[in-house]
Subunit: 344 residues, 2 copies
């Protein structure tokens, strides 16, 4: 690795790939001080790149003949398609030829590949998908959002720890609050997992504020909410689904008469602000945290700007040395455990 | 029980009790052909009732000295407070002195009391809380919404069966669709529960349409969505939380300038329509289905109109003989199983 950060990009992942991905990369090298390696069929990528004006040496192509589609079985696909744009991008990080990897393709294949090719941080049992969501009063992180449909209580403590480091360093919130997603405010509420996790979280070395009911999540008042991946994915997708439905109905109502159309026109700037406020693309992609490399999953429907934001997020991750900070905390915890053990 | 339906009402449950509850009862006896027995401190209730003009013989008071608060441990409270307004209302159904029971108080105590005092329908292992929610394209049911934080796969099949009968008879949808809440459309996605439940649901005697991702739930395109109570409660509370946040932000934006205020004024009828469309109070309360009596949990913040709607829901439940229809299907299923067993 040189002095300039190098980012590996899966050129063939996402609904709008390679077009939006390539354009996002071009925007990024113009705005940030990074070099990019895009993986995918050389001819196709070169043709896309030729459309833009930029410093040619900033973006290289690494030829990859195969593509993993979102419909393929994630684990099978990543195991079989060694020549896929995704596998080759991940290998660049594994071999330390790149400092981070991004893809807007299959979430499952990206997570499986990050786990198998890049590998876990020692001490983290389950890496987790952790998007930043726009809340009413500020952004919040949901961790895990789908990597682990089943979790053990201790996994949720590790999620809290990683979330804290991310939030503190990238979102610059001092001593961020960590909440446990649960269906009641009281400690004894919930299922077996949340009851056991609550006990462990109370003892953890971060600002645990107790259970948070899903109704309170969208306010963003709690910075990091921890849960198993099934619950987190439900939270994330309900967020998207409810918001989309309300805006659809609002639009229908505005279009229903002349008066409401005028009203809608006058509220255009307001709607624009709201759209911006609730636009999760502003925060980049979802970090897959707990692996030994910077792995960012950009949203499948990313346009060029969203993809550029995901690249910015990878740069933040790198500049703030998130991974080595997680490693340091884990080492410290381990030493404390040994010390406590020796004291007995 | 006479020819006229008799409804037992917990007079002391809910944020606005006894005022809104009593007023809701008065509205109901004026509009529907029912008699009501309200439980609670006689003096307090009589004082409230004296405010209204109605046929005095339609509403009776059953004196109950104790009140269960939402902060009490549900199971403990229902066991200890035999003289509570809730326990006495439930006992009226158990003793067949009333045909249905409603409360806007503690959900936990209501469910525990319905289970202990009224009792399960034979063949239903886990009664479930099943509210009707307003979707973009129509109402939908989420079952279970919090009665059972842990579920077995076969519980979800019973939820589907009960949901189908409710939806068919009360919402008059022919052959309603049943979906399994899951974090992926494919059969093999999800956690252990959803994977096992999917297999059973495919074999069930109703219109199972496969997995439904939480993003799709708010459209209302699938009539009945089944899940464990932890997931259902998360779906319900995210729905409420996201909607409330969006409307809050919209309000703030409208109040931010003169132009947007005018725009907001012109859109008033549109907002009213939207509010009505997404008002879950329109559909009454949440039925606690699977017990041997009609048990309706009205929303804690019910006003008089919402409480009246919950009473209408109990009447629908009664008129359509939901409980005996559930019993009939269970008997039929049992006979089929015996026949299949004998064939072997």
């Amino acid at each position: 690795m040189g002095i300039i950060m190098i980012i590996a990009v899966d050129g063939m992942g996402g609904d709008n790939s390679p077009k939006a991905v390539v354009e996002g990369c071009v925007l990024a090298v113009k705005e940030y001080d990074v070099d990019i390696i895009i993986t995918g069929p050389e001819d196709t990528l070169q043709q896309e790149l030729n459309k833009y004006d930029y410093k040619k040496e900033k973006i290289r192509i690494l030829d990859a003949k195969e593509v993993i589609s979102p419909n393929e079985h994630p684990v099978m696909a990543i195991r079989k398609k060694k020549e896929s744009s995704l596998a080759k991008a991940l290998a660049l990080v594994k071999n330390k030829e790149a400092d981070a990897v991004l893809s807007a393709g299959s979430t499952g294949a990206f997570m499986a590949g990050s786990l198998f090719i890049v590998g876990r941080i020692k001490g983290i049992d389950r890496p987790a998908l952790a998007p930043i969501m726009p809340g009413k009063n500020g952004p919040f992180m949901v961790i895990d959002c789908g990597a682990n449909a089943e979790c053990k209580p201790e996994n949720l403590v590790q999620f809290g720890l990683m979330g804290k480091i991310y939030f503190e360093n990238i979102l610059k919130v001092n001593n961020p609050t960590i909440g446990l997603v649960n269906i009641g405010a009281e400690e004894e509420k919930g299922n077996e997992l949340t009851k056991a996790a609550h006990k462990l979280l109370k003892e953890a070395d971060f600002n645990f504020v107790g259970n948070i009911e899903p109704r309170e999540i969208p306010s963003g008042d709690v910075n990091v909410v921890v849960c198993d991946g099934f619950t987190g994915n439900t939270v994330l997708k309900m967020y998207e689904g409810v918001a989309a439905n309300i805006f659809d109905v609002l639009k229908e109502e505005i279009m229903s008469s002349f008066t409401t159309k005028i009203g809608g026109a006058l509220l255009k700037p307001a709607f624009k602000n709201i759209k911006k406020k609730f636009d999760y693309k502003e925060y980049g992609g979802a970090a897959f945290i707990g692996v030994k490399g910077i792995c960012i999953k950009a949203h499948g429907s990313s346009d060029a700007k969203a993809f550029k934001n995901a690249i910015r997020q990878a740069i933040n991750f790198y500049d703030n040395q998130i991974i080595s900070k997680i490693q340091q905390v884990l080492e410290k915890n381990e030493q404390t455990s040994i010390a406590e053990f020796e004291e007995v």
